[in-house]
C-alpha cells in the first residue's frame, strides 16, 4: 500500500516530520518498506530561461543556447531539442547532476567542437512523462534559478508500507491517518461526506439475479447514473497523486474510482451508460461466457464467478475488473457508477483462477467496509460533478447492506493480564476511541465496558484483539521483559524421549564412524519411490513443486544415492554419507517413522577413504556398512546379543550380498548390503554402493529400570583360556551357525566364540570351506584340568557337527 505525504495530510492535521511519521507507522504495525522522495532525485535541477539560441556551426539539428540559470552570467549549452528557442523557460541540469531516466552523471563536454556546460531536459529525461520530443516548456511565471521539483509540486514523498492481512481499513489513506492520530501524530480530520441530491429523474434498475442460497456472494449492488458529463483529464493534483503511487491517470471518471480505492479503501467501477444494453444485472457467469476486459485480454468465465451483465452478456467481472465494451473514455457523456459488496473468498478464487491482480480484487478479498458503500458512492458522485459536470440520478440499490453490530465486553485488566503492562484506564479508553471504537459503560463499573466495533474493523473479534489495538498504539516498547522462573510447578522436567535420544545419538555415532551427515528432500520422484518400496497413491503430492519431488520417500537411500552420485560427478567419488530423518510408509502418524541410513561409495571404507600405502586401494564393501550398522546399534545401547543377521534383504539390495537385521521374524529393524544393480539403474547411479538402513522407531525399547545403579561387576580370579578349532563345512553353511554352535556347547564355561579365519581352496574339498574359530573359556570356581578342557572341546565339535555338519579339519 502506497500513499504520499500530502495525501495523508488530507486526513491528518499534523506537524510531524516525515521521519516521525515513518517511525510511527512501523511502530504501530504498518511496517514501512520504502520511502521515496522524488524531489531528492531532482535536487540539482533548476528552472532556467533560454536567452539566445543559435544554430550549431557544425551540426544541422543542434543549437547552441545561452541560458540564464540564476547564477552569475549565462551558461552555454548545446541542445538538440527542436523546441529550444530564445525566451523559453525550461529545466536546466548542471554538470554533476544525475539524469534520473538514464542514471547518467552529466559532465562538461565539447559537442562537435562547441563547449556545452549542462543540459536542458525533457519530461522523459526527468522520469516525469513519456514525452521526449522536446525539452520541458514551463510557464512564463516560473521563477528562474529556483529548484524545479518543489516548484512543480513534486516534493511529495511516497510512503509504501506492508499491509497486514487483518487490516483492510489501512487499504485507504484515511484509515492510515486514523491510526496515526491515535498514536499521537496529529488530529484525524474525519471529513464529512454530504449526500448529493438527485437532479436527474430517470428510471433505471440495479438487479441481483442469484439463487436464494447465493445471496452472500453479492449482498448489495448500487448504481448511480450521471448524464451530461464531459470526461477528460482529471485535475493536476489527482493525476500527480495517482502517478506518485504508480497508477496511470486515464480519464477523470476512471481516475475517480482509482482515487477512492486508495483514499477510502472503496473500490468502484464506472460503465459508459450509452454502451450498456438494458439493465445491469449481478449474476453467476454462464459456462462458455467470456469477458473482454479492460486490460485488453479476454477471460473465459466459469459458473463460480460473479459478473455484472447487460442484455448482451458479462460487462464486468464483479469486484475484479471491468469490461472494455462498456468502459469510459473521452467520448463518454453518461456514466453509471457502481458500488457493491462481494464475497471475499469468491473474489479471491476468481482472481486466482484468472490470474488477475487488481486493486479492486486486493481490497474485496480482504473485505471492505459495508457501511461505506453509499458514502463512497456519494463521494464519487460529488467528484464526478465537480470534475465533469452533469446531473445525477437517485441511487438504485439492490440487495441489502449488512449491518454489523459487533460488541465486546471488555475488562481494562485484560491489557495487564496479557501484556504485563499496567496502563492508566484513560489511556486505554482514549486509544480505543481514537481508533473508532465506541465505549458503552455500565453504571458504577468503570473497569468493565462494552466496546462497539466499527464496521471498518472486521478483524476485531474478542478482548484479545482489543488488547492488541491498545498495545500497538501505546507502544510495544513499553512492555518490560520479565524474568521467567526456570521451574514451572507441574510442568514436566525437560527430558528427551527415548526416540529423541536415539536420533541425537545416532547422528553423533554415525559421524564418529566417519560418515558425513546429509539432509535431503523428504520427497523424491515417483519412479525412485517405487524402486525403494514406496510410491503408494496416498503418499504422492497433489501439487508437487517439480515432477522429481512428487512422492514422500519410503527410505533415506534414494536421497543419499542421488547425493553421492552428484558428488561423484563433481570428482568426489569416495564419499560416505548418512542421514537421520523421516520416512513414510503411510499418511497416518504411526506410519511416519525416523530412520538412520548410511551409504558408502568408492573407496570410502570405515578405515578411511581413498588409496593408501599400507593397504592399497580397497573399495568399501558390505562389511564396512555392517560395521556402521552395528556401531550405531551399540551406540544406541541396543543389546546385540538377541540381534539376528539373516541373509537376504529388501528388493533393492543384492540378493546374495545383503542381510536383514532383526530380533525375530516380526521384529525387523533394518538391513545392510550392496545396492541391487536394478535399483542403481533406477537411480542412474554408478555402483557398487553399499548401505544400511535402520528404522529407529522399530528398535524395541528396553524397559527403564527402577534404579540407576548398574548390576554388580563380576571379576573372576581365574584366567580365561582359549582354544582354536578349524572346521570344514559346506560352502553354504553360515559362519554364524558355527559360532552359535560353539557358544551353545557349554553356556556356563564358554564366554566368547569368534571366527578368525575362513579359507577355500587347495587342501579343502571342492564345495567346502574351512572356518576357524577361537573359543574362550572362563573357569569360575576351579582351575580346569586337561580332561575338563578336552570334554568341552568334544562337546563343541559335536554341536558343530550336529548343527552345521562340520568336521574338524585334519
Amino acid at each position: 500500500m502506497k500513499f504520499t505525504l500530502s495525501w495523508l495530510k488530507d486526513h491528518l492535521e499534523t506537524d510531524a516530520s516525515l521521519t516521525e511519521i515513518v517511525d510511527a507507522l512501523t511502530r504501530i504495525g504498518l511496517e514501512v518498506e520504502h520511502v521515496e522522495d522524488p524531489a531528492a532525485a531532482l535536487h540539482d535541477f533548476k528552472i532556467a530561461r533560454i536567452v539566445e539560441a543559435k544554430p550549431h556551426p557544425n551540426a544541422d539539428r543542434l543549437q547552441v543556447c545561452l541560458v540564464e540559470t540564476g547564477g552569475e552570467g549565462l551558461v552555454q549549452v548545446v541542445c538538440g531539442a527542436p523546441n529550444a528557442r530564445a525566451g523559453l523557460k525550461t529545466v536546466f541540469a548542471p554538470p554533476g547532476a544525475v539524469i534520473p531516466a538514464k542514471q547518467i552523471t552529466l559532465s562538461k563536454g565539447v559537442i562537435r567542437g562547441v563547449e556545452s556546460n549542462g543540459m536542458l531536459c525533457s519530461g522523459a529525461e526527468l522520469g516525469l512523462s513519456g514525452d521526449h520530443d522536446g525539452i520541458l516548456e514551463l510557464p512564463e511565471a516560473a521563477p528562474v534559478g529556483l529548484q524545479f521539483a518543489p516548484w512543480a509540486g513534486l516534493a511529495d514523498p511516497v510512503i509504501e508500507f506492508n499491509l497486514l492481512p487483518n487490516r483492510p481499513d489501512a487499504m485507504g489513506v484515511e484509515g492510515v491517518a486514523r491510526d496515526l492520530a491515535a498514536a499521537g501524530l496529529g488530529r484525524f480530520k474525519g471529513r464529512k461526506i454530504t449526500p448529493v441530491p438527485a437532479s436527474l429523474s430517470v428510471a433505471f434498475a440495479a438487479r441481483i439475479d442469484l439463487a436464494a442460497g447465493d445471496s452472500h456472494l453479492a449482498p448489495a449492488f448500487a448504481l448511480r447514473l450521471i448524464r451530461g458529463v464531459r470526461n477528460g483529464e482529471s485535475p493536476d493534483w489527482l493525476r500527480k497523486r495517482l502517478t506518485a503511487i504508480g497508477l496511470r491517470p486515464i480519464n477523470a471518471l476512471v481516475d475517480i474510482t482509482n482515487y477512492l480505492s486508495f483514499d477510502r479503501a472503496r473500490p468502484l467501477h464506472v460503465f459508459d451508460a450509452a454502451k450498456v444494453k438494458g439493465d445491469l444485472v449481478v449474476r453467476r457467469a454462464r459456462a462458455g461466457e467470456s469477458l473482454n476486459a479492460l486490460d485488453g485480454r479476454v477471460y473465459a468465465l466459469d459458473e463460480e464467478m460473479i459478473v455484472i451483465a447487460d442484455d448482451r452478456g458479462p460487462q464486468s467481472l464483479a469486484g475484479i475488473m471491468g469490461g472494455a465494451d462498456t468502459g469510459c473514455d473521452e467520448a463518454t457523456t453518461e456514466v453509471l457508477i457502481e458500488a457493491a459488496l462481494w464475497h471475499p473468498a469468491n473474489i479471491a478464487r476468481t482472481g486466482r483462477r484468472l490470474g488477475i491482480n487488481s486493486d479492486a480484487r486486493y481490497r474485496f478479498e480482504r473485505s471492505v467496509d459495508p457501511a461505506f458503500l453509499l458514502p463512497g458512492l456519494e463521494l464519487a458522485t460529488a467528484l464526478t460533478l465537480e470534475f465533469c459536470g452533469g446531473a445525477a440520478s437517485d441511487i438504485a440499490l439492490a440487495g441489502k447492506i449488512p449491518e454489523r453490530d459487533h460488541r465486546i465486553v471488555f475488562f481494562q485488566g485484560e491489557v495487564t493480564r496479557l501484556t504485563g503492562l499496567d496502563l492508566p484506564p484513560s489511556e486505554i479508553t482514549g486509544i480505543l476511541e481514537h481508533l473508532g471504537f465506541e465505549l458503552v459503560y455500565s453504571p458504577g463499573n468503570s473497569d468493565r465496558f462494552v466496546v462497539k466495533v466499527p464496521s471498518f474493523r472486521p478483524d476485531i473479534e474478542g478482548p484479545a484483539d482489543l488488547v492488541e489495538e491498545v498495545i500497538r498504539i501505546a507502544g510495544l516498547d513499553r512492555v518490560a521483559s520479565r524474568p521467567f522462573a526456570r521451574e514451572s510447578a507441574g510442568a514436566p522436567a525437560p527430558k528427551l524421549t527415548p526416540l529423541q535420544r536415539r536420533v541425537r545419538t545416532a547422528k553423533r555415532a554415525l559421524a564418529a564412524a566417519g560418515l558425513v551427515e546429509a539432509v535431503t528432500w523428504s520427497f523424491i520422484s515417483h519412479a525412485r519411490a517405487e524402486a525403494f518400496g514406496g510410491g503408494a497413491a496416498e503418499l504422492s503430492l497433489a501439487n508437487p513443486i517439480a515432477a522429481e519431488l512428487s512422492d514422500m520417500r519410503p527410505s533415506l537411500l534414494p536421497g543419499l544415492i542421488a547425493s553421492a552420485q552428484r558428488n561423484a560427478d563433481r570428482g568426489h567419488g569416495d564419499v560416505a554419507l548418512f542421514e537421520v530423518g523421516q520416512i513414510f510408509f503411510g499418511e497416518e502418524e504411526g506410519d511416519q517413522k525416523i530412520a538412520a541410513a548410511a551409504l558408502r561409495q568408492g573407496l570410502a571404507k570405515t578405515s578411511g577413504a581413498g588409496r593408501n600405502w599400507l593397504t592399497g586401494a580397497q573399495p568399501a564393501d558390505v562389511f564396512d556398512v555392517k560395521a556402521d550398522a552395528l556401531a550405531l546399534l551399540t551406540a544406541l545401547g541396543v543389546p546385540t546379543s538377541g540381534l539376528q543377521i539373516v541373509p537376504g534383504g529388501p528388493d533393492w539390495l543384492h540378493p546374495g550380498r545383503s542381510a536383514t537385521l532383526q530380533f525375530g521374524p516380526k521384529t525387523k529393524i533394518g538391513y545392510f548390503g550392496e545396492i541391487h544393480p536394478r535399483a542403481l539403474a533406477a537411480m542412474g547411479a554408478d555402483g557398487p554402493l553399499v548401505c544400511f538402513e535402520v528404522v529407529l522407531n522399530d528398535i524395541p525399547v528396553t524397559k527403564s529400570k527402577p534404579t540407576k545403579t548398574k548390576p554388580r561387576l563380576e571379576l573372576f580370579e581365574l584366567m580365561p583360556l582359549q582354544r582354536d578349532f578349524a572346521f570344514v563345512v559346506d560352502r553354504s553353511v553360515l559362519a554364524g551357525e558355527l559360532v552359535k554352535a560353539a557358544l551353545a556347547a557349554d553356556k556356563a564355561l564358554i564366554v566368547k566364540a569368534e571366527v578368525f579365519d575362513v579359507y577355500e581352496g587347495p587342501g579343502v574339498a571342492e564345495g567346502k570351506k574351512s572356518v576357524a574359530i577361537s573359543v574362550t573359556l572362563q573357569p569360575r570356581d576351579r582351575t580346569l584340568t586337561e580332561s575338563d578342557i578336552d570334554a568341552v572341546a568334544a562337546k563343541i565339535v559335536a554341536e558343530a557337527s550336529q548343527r552345521a555338519g562340520a568336521s574338524l579339519r585334519g
Binding site: T26, G29, L164, P165, N166, A345, A348, R352, T416, L418, G420, E461, A464, E468, I471, L476, D477, V479, A480, S481, R482, F484, A485, R486, G490, A491, A493, P494, Q500, R508, A512, G514, E517, T520, W521, S522, F523, A537, E538, A542, N543, P544, I545, L560, R566, N567, R570, H572, V575, L577, Q582, E589, Q592, K605, S607, G608, G610, N612, W613, L614
Partner: protein, 373 residues
C-alpha cells in the same frame, strides 16, 4: 695362553700373578664379541681355568703361604671377573646400537588411514542440539509431530479461516483427497505440534517444537522444505513481558553475545493475538553479522499471545489459561550464526560444503562447554 693350570707344579710367585693378570685383561679387552669373551672366562675362571687351578693349589700350601698367596689370587680373580662383566656390558651395548642402527622408518610416510576423522554433523542438527540445550535450561521439553498433517491441525484448530490464502495450492503441499474428501497436507509450520501438545497435556506447558516444514516455494531464499522451531508456553499467568525475556535470553544464549536489542512490531498471525514480529539490532561487515550493536534491524521471528480461539479449539478455557508462542527458522538461525550464504546448499549434500560448514561429532553443544566449538 701363558699358563696352563695343570702344568704348574711349583708355587707361583707374585710377579707371575701380575703377568697372568696383564695377559687376561688384555685378552678380555681384545674379545670382539660375546663368544670370544666367554672363551676368556672359561680359560680363566672356568673349572679348569688358570685362576681356578691356582686356587685349587692353595690346599697344598702352608697356612702362612696360603694366607698371602690366597689373598693375591683372590684379588686377581675379582679383577678378572669385574673386567669380564664390564666388557660384557660394552659388547651388549654395542650389539644393541648396531641393531637399532638398522631399524629405521620413514617417519614422513602418512599414518594408517583413520576413517573417523572425516565424519561431520550437519549444521541443522548442530543448531537443533544447541536449541534443545538452551531451552532445556529454561525448562522446555521437546515436542514433535508428523510431517504429514491433517488440515484440522495445520489450519483449522490454529484459527485459520476456511478461505485463508495459506490454504491455497500455491502455498501448501496437499495430498489427494480421501474418500471423505479430506486432504492431508505437508505441515506448513510446526504449529500443529502446539495443537497436539495442548490436546495431549494439561498446562503448565513449556515445549519447543523443532522440525521439518514445507511450502510450495523455491527461490534463492526459499526452499520447498525447511526447518522451524516453535516455542509454546501455556499456564495461568505468562504474558508478553515473559515472552520478551525468553526471546532475549534465547537469542543471547544462541548467538553467544552478552546483549541483544530487540524491537517488537505489531503483526498478524491467525493463531496469536496480539501478534508481533521481532527485529534484532545488528551490524553487518564483510558478510559477518554482529548482534547487540549497529544500525540495522533484522527481522528474525514472529510471536504472540496464543489466540483464545486456539486455546478453545484445544480444549483449554481462555479465561483460565493463557500463554504465548513464537516461531523461527532453524536454517536461518544457522545461516546467521555460522555465515552460510545460501539456503539451498543446505540440502544439496555437497561433501565440500558439509566438510566446511559441518561440525565434528564430538563438538556436542552444551552449556557447560559453551555452545559452539
Amino acid at each position: 695362553m701363558l699358563y696352563d693350570g695343570g702344568a704348574i707344579g711349583i708355587l707361583p710367585i707374585m710377579a707371575d700373578l701380575e703377568d697372568l693378570k696383564t695377559a687376561l685383561l688384555s685378552d678380555i679387552a681384545a674379545a670382539a664379541d660375546e663368544s670370544a669373551l666367554e672363551a676368556v672366562r672359561v680359560a680363566s675362571l672356568g673349572k679348569k681355568g688358570s685362576i681356578s687351578t691356582l686356587l685349587s693349589g692353595l690346599g697344598k700350601m702352608s697356612p702362612d703361604e696360603r694366607k698371602t698367596e690366597g689373598a693375591a689370587i683372590n684379588t686377581l680373580k675379582e679383577a678378572v671377573a669385574a673386567a669380564l662383566s664390564a666388557r660384557r656390558g660394552v659388547l651388549k651395548d654395542a650389539a644393541l646400537e648396531a641393531r637399532l642402527a638398522n631399524e629405521t622408518l620413514d617417519v614422513t610416510l602418512p599414518v594408517r588411514p583413520h576413517g573417523a576423522a572425516a565424519g561431520r554433523i550437519h549444521p541443522i542438527s548442530q543448531v537443533m542440539d544447541e536449541l534443545a540445550e538452551i531451552f532445556a535450561d529454561m525448562g522446555f521439553s521437546i515436542a514433535e509431530g508428523p510431517d504429514i498433517e491433517t488440515d484440522d491441525y495445520n489450519f483449522t484448530k490454529l484459527n485459520f479461516p476456511p478461505d485463508h490464502p495459506a490454504r491455497d495450492m500455491h502455498d501448501t503441499f496437499f495430498f489427494h483427497p480421501d474418500k471423505q474428501g479430506r486432504r492431508k497436507v505437508l505441515r506448513t509450520h510446526t504449529s500443529p505440534v502446539q495443537v497436539r501438545t495442548m490436546l495431549a497435556q494439561k498446562p503448565p506447558i513449556r515445549v519447543i517444537c523443532p522440525g521439518r516444514t514445507y511450502r510450495c516455494d523455491s527461490d534463492q531464499t526459499h526452499t520447498p522444505m525447511f526447518h522451524q522451531v516453535e516455542g509454546l508456553v501455556i499456564d495461568r499467568s505468562s504474558n508478553l513481558g515473559h515472552l520478551k525475556w525468553i526471546l532475549e535470553e534465547f537469542l543471547k544464549a544462541f548467538f553467544e553475545t552478552p546483549t541483544v536489542n530487540l524491537r517488537f512490531r505489531p503483526s498478524y498471525f491467525p493463531f496469536t493475538e496480539p501478534s508481533m514480529e521481532v527485529d534484532v539490532q545488528c551490524s553487518r561487515k564483510d558478510g559477518e553479522i554482529r548482534f547487540g550493536e549497529g544500525s540495522d534491524w533484522l527481522e528474525i521471528l514472529g510471536c504472540g499471545m496464543v489466540h483464545s480461539n486456539v486455546l478453545r479449539n484445544c480444549g483449554l478455557d481462555p479465561e483460565i489459561y493463557q500463554g504465548f508462542a513464537w516461531g523461527i527458522g532453524i536454517d536461518r538461525l544457522a545461516m546467521l550464526k555460522y555465515g552460510m550464504p545460501d539456503l539451498r546448499a543446505f540440502f544439496e549434500a555437497d561433501v565440500r560444503w558439509l566438510k566446511h560448514y559441518g561440525f565434528r561429532p564430538l563438538d556436542f553443544p552444551s552449556l557447560a562447554s559453551g555452545l559452539s566449538p
